[in-house]
Symmetry: C2
Amino acid sequence: MALIHYPVVNKNGEVIASAVTNLDLHDIARASKTYGVIGYYVVTPLEDQKALVEKIISHWVTGVGAAYNPVRREALELIRVKDSVAAVIEDIRNSGEEMPKTVVTSAREYPRSIGYETFREMLETGSPYLLNFGTAWGLSESLISEADYVLNPIKGKCGYNHLSVRSAVSVILDRVMGVRSEK
Amino acid sequence: MALIHYPVVNKNGEVIASAVTNLDLHDIARASKTYGVIGYYVVTPLEDQKALVEKIISHWVTGVGAAYNPVRREALELIRVKDSVAAVIEDIRNSGEEMPKTVVTSAREYPRSIGYETFREMLETGSPYLLNFGTAWGLSESLISEADYVLNPIKGKCGYNHLSVRSAVSVILDRVMGVRSEK
């Protein structure tokens, strides 16, 4: 999985680099660990942001936080910081893993969007996928158009679908990787 | 729905009042609005915490935040701040609504825990329920034992179930109130 801070769009649709949010690291790492995600990439090209993320991770993975809260360490050690989606792909290639297909998420529906049940079945085949989430007002159109697959938006009951990225990640992981016997 | 900051337990199982987290207000209000929750109560008896919550809400509901981001206003105006679960029940009584049964969530399973499909069917009857989530290390045993129902924990794939309360709320609302046609 990857959480993208660049290229994403702002309120006016302009491409920007967003700031990293501390709770995005914690919440999404904890959800990743819960649902069995193999790696959680935080993507930002900004040096100060990368340094900030590394500092937070080291506090919880090797610093005093690791002893204070070992279960938090188990989650945060899934995080790897990279400059770009290309660098994420490169990292996966270097690890010797099979190259993943890319899947992007969006609050908008596209003609080629696929449903959750479809993606769940794709995951169950064992093939690797890199699932990308956007921060700010969402992934840039360039990233969306380059992806192999686009996932359907999460639709609310009353036409309101403005979930935080932390909520969207949690709901989507539960839908596509959640334990099905949990009735 | 209610997010409880007292009585909850800390890491050592002692009953405490936890601090309010800004993103709990935003993320949970946005998830509530998305899934059609009628009201989102933030429960804390601490005066400074209540003042903080009211200040944040007023920024987004009537202050400059309302013009900057109207969809955020729509979510945050669901929030009401109360001293205790008893005060929440009193508020619902005063509104003339039918008295709700109380449902609590926990990361632990209890002999009387009910499943998500069961609770979904209970909601579909139209009867009102007050769904309570704990902050810190979870709701106090007193609150859990007084509740009408306890909901099953969210189980992960690998035995890790340490979701943030923001993630847990999102996943649970999706399971019990999500649009079922979203395959």
